[in-house]
Amino acid sequence: MKRLISIGLAVVLVTGVALAVIFGSGGGTDSAPLTTVRGVIGSEKLAFFSDQRVKDAFARHGLDVQVDPAGSRQMAIQTDLSRYDFAFPSSSPAADRIRHDHGNAHTYAPFSSPMAVATFAPIVDLLTKAGVVHKGAGDYDVLDIAKYMELTANGTRWDQLPGNTSYPVRKNILITTTDPRDSNSAAMYLSIASYVANGFSVVNTQQQEATILPKVTPLFTNQGYTQNSSDAPFEDYLSAGIGRNPMVLVYEAQYADRLVRDDGSIKPDMRLLYLSPTVYSKHTLVALKGPGDQVGQLLNSDPELSKLAATFGFRTQDPKYFTQVVSEHKLPLPTSLVDTVDPPSFETLERLLDAVGKQYGA
């Protein structure tokens, strides 16, 4: 069941304006002491929260937001959340779990980002020839997950692709992900792969889980060791190039952020591949204690913070902010994507992740 989604159709503009009035008026002044708010966030939002403009925007509302990065699943299961005012994992399933464990706390979903693959021009060419990559509705490239899974099911190596002279490496064709046991982006990838393996439908019975696990588990275990947070493989991608990891699972926002910064980190041969189907990682803030709630409300409603979030590559609840950034910086990114699917329920996803995790023997 495929759905067509235009980004950010659930606009809560009215609420946003109302909250802006309420909180905007209480903005800080030079002398007012700031209230420190502590949050634990998915690492891919660290750059956003560390940015001086974002700090300034929060300070205008009397807040000093201090954040620690952590894997989203780690956050939901392992992290001691008692010292934080809010948790801001990168997906709705992780947020659901945290909310459930904290007396149904308020949640806010101010921005989202589709999963994508950061790669290089020669890889796009090779996979296009192999029929795994095709053009999307606009001028962007799409990785067909079903065809990709067929290719990887046989353990095909790069040097086994016919006519491959540009990347004849004796390594399996595999997307580099994070550790499925404690990172959200890997869980999002598992959501996509399980959907495809389940005959293009969201897994929702234990029987389906058992059937698809042998097909999706090797996508992770064949990689061997994986890192636990999504900024690590992306950093490797940016700094170490095609030899280290030719294809890295990323949030679109990570790539878009670097494009906007235009600081030379995106080299001319770097490419972003969209996935078909893909899922949106819905960054969802769970307000755990008093001032955490205010952070959620501001992110949802403050126009300046929304604009800044778009600058960091996130697709905002009101799509106009993201669209503006795309046109302003002439980013080669589509403003809307087709073929997106929902992740399975938190319980199903947890069981799948646990089953994959068991293969690591620890």
Partner: protein, 535 residues
């Protein structure tokens, strides 16, 4: 509109400095208590070269790093045991991979921020590369293993249980030889054991640290050390670039890269987290990254910094690292028990009268600790391995009768039991004939290597006093010049203990290409385990 707030932000930033709250601060620790502005870091010894960068960072950020150096395995054990929790704020090793694979390891770690990287690669002089036909640098590990099996070149490498460079090399070569293209699994290791044996047949120099390895290599090259010259080294690219005369080879089937994640411990308090953030932000700025690249020859993690020309392969292929503890343990155990050239060691043990009491007890415990009774990570990997030949040579007024044991791969326990029993039976009495006993050790080695030459050979000397009987230091020095060629590279590892003479111990190490270990500042058991990395 944005600019209006910059001034405000500056004011706020000043106001905020020093207002972060402090957690508990009453731990009594060797490095001192947790303190704002100080980051206590348990680190790999090779990071000592970052000191100038960290000194500048302290000026720029107000965060001072206090290092305590440790081996990778020892460090992992400290973290797993929870002993790092209050003693340190962060750890910084060349990689967290192995620690993360160990049960409970990942939970101990907080934010991990990579600072730089360096692949583990092969360095050979151009002349050797030409002989091997590898001038273009396009070589695979399989080709390297084949040439190694034919003894067409020799190399030095660190012990995989003692140093990350050796560990990474072992993992990399194994992954490449398995050739499956995906991560190594335990059941593949038996199949590649013959090729791995070939590869390690050419290793003629081993060490417990990559720094000592390079020193020993250079001393042998210059003739300062008596051992035979070694052609090349397997080490970090950064170390090889620092040395002269070696060309770096990045095997085309891939490498394993050290990525140096500066890692906050999960237990760190908010001051430490704040310091960590300020320090890592600073270390990752393009200017600092450039400085790191220029002074340490490690690759920058900041993508804005272009690579220097000395990095001949801008993007070496990375081999998958095993994803399970079981795969790594199977590989490392196979390395020690089946793959590497087995070692042969004579332990020259002082049992003079002054060893009576605690000292003799410490010696017995240290030897027993190597027979499998120590179940720690380090103990497990440093015990006597299958095929290993161990000779205990107690001495006092003169050398006593040596006892030699060889660990049978199919039945290890008898030899291990015998080592333990022999150690337990040592009795202290008499004078101290250090040099006569050392000479005896060489005679034993000469005999043993006559029929079975292909072993890593070394001598461990443990004495608690000055030489009071038999030959003197000068006699020994001239004796060393007369040993057969095959024993010329045999290092003596003297252990400083009790009233042992530091000068004599240094002289012995220098004359034989060995290294002095200090048994006064740490336990004899730990020292004996450390020495294992060099055998």
């Amino acid at each position: 509109m944005r600019k209006r707030f910059i001034a405000l932000a500056a004011v706020l930033a000043v106001g905020l400095a020093g207002c972060s709250g402090g957690d508990s601060k009453d731990q009594k620790q060797p490095l001192g208590q947790a303190k704002a502005g100080v980051l206590r870091v348990l680190a790999g010894s090779e990071l000592a070269d970052m000191q100038p960068i960290l000194d500048e960072a302290a000026k720029a950020t107000g965060v001072q790093v206090k290092f305590t150096f440790s081996g990778t395995l020892e460090g992992a054990q400290t973290v797993l045991d929870g002993k790092a929790d209050s003693a340190y704020d962060a750890i910084w090793f060349s990689s967290n991979r192995y620690l993360t694979l160990l049960p409970g390891g990942a939970k101990k770690l907080g934010t991990q921020t990579k600072i730089m990287s360096s692949p583990v690669v092969l360095g050979l002089p151009n002349s050797v590369l030409q002989q091997l036909g590898w001038q273009d640098g396009k070589v695979t590990w399989s080709q390297i293993a084949e040439a190694a099996g034919q003894h067409r070149f020799s190399y030095g490498m660190t012990d995989p249980s003692a140093s990350n460079s050796g560990f990474s090399a072992l993992v990399g070569v194994a992954a490449a030889l398995a050739g499956s293209g995906s991560a190594l699994t335990p059941d593949q290791i038996t199949a590649i054991t013959p090729q791995l044996k070939q590869f390690f047949a050419a290793q003629t120099l081993s060490a417990g640290s990559s720094g000592w390895l390079s020193d020993a290599f250079q001393k042998r090259a210059s003739g300062a050390d008596p051992g035979p010259k070694v052609d090349g080294l397997i080490n970090y690219e950064s170390v090889l670039l620092e040395m002269k005369g070696l060309t770096v080879i990045h095997p085309s089937d891939g490498v394993v890269t050290a990525d140096y994640p500066l890692t906050l411990l999960a237990s760190a308090n908010s001051d430490a987290r704040d310091s960590f953030r300020r320090l890592t932000d600073h270390l990752r700025t393009p200017d600092v990254q450039r400085r790191i690249m220029e002074t340490t020859h490690r690759r920058p993690i900041a993508p804005q910094v272009p690579l220097a020309k000395e990095f001949t392969d801008a993007s070496p292929v990375e081999l998958p690292f095993p994803g399970t503890e079981q795969a790594v343990d199977t590989l490392v155990s196979a390395y020690f028990d089946k793959i590497r050239r087995p070692s042969r060691t004579v332990y020259v043990l002082d049992t003079s009268g002054s060893m009576e009491g605690d000292r003799l007890a410490a010696l017995k415990a240290a030897l027993s600790g190597l027979t499998g009774v120590d179940s720690s990570l380090v103990g497990r990997y440093r015990q006597f391995h299958a095929r290993e030949q161990v000779t205990l040579l107690p001495f006092s007024t003169g050398p006593a009768a040596p006892v030699t044991m060889t660990v049978d791969p199919d039945n290890r326990q008898p030899a291990l039991d015998q080592i333990k029993q022999t150690a337990d039976g040592l009795v202290a009495d008499g004078d101290t004939a250090i040099f006569t006993s050392l000479e005896k050790a060489y005679q034993i080695l000469e005999q043993q290597s006559d029929t079975d030459p292909d072993r890593f050979t070394s001598i461990v000397l443990m004495t608690d006093g000055e030489n009071t009987a038999g030959a003197g230091l000068d006699d020994f020095k001239s004796f060393v010049g007369t040993v057969p060629d095959r024993l010329k590279g045999t290092p003596v590892f003297p252990v400083l203990f009790g009233e042992g003479s530091q000068d004599d111990m240094n002289a012995i190490a220098t004359a034989t290409g060995g290294k002095v270990f200090d048994g006064r500042s740490q336990s004899l058991a730990d020292v004996f385990k450390d020495i294992r990395g060099y055998q």
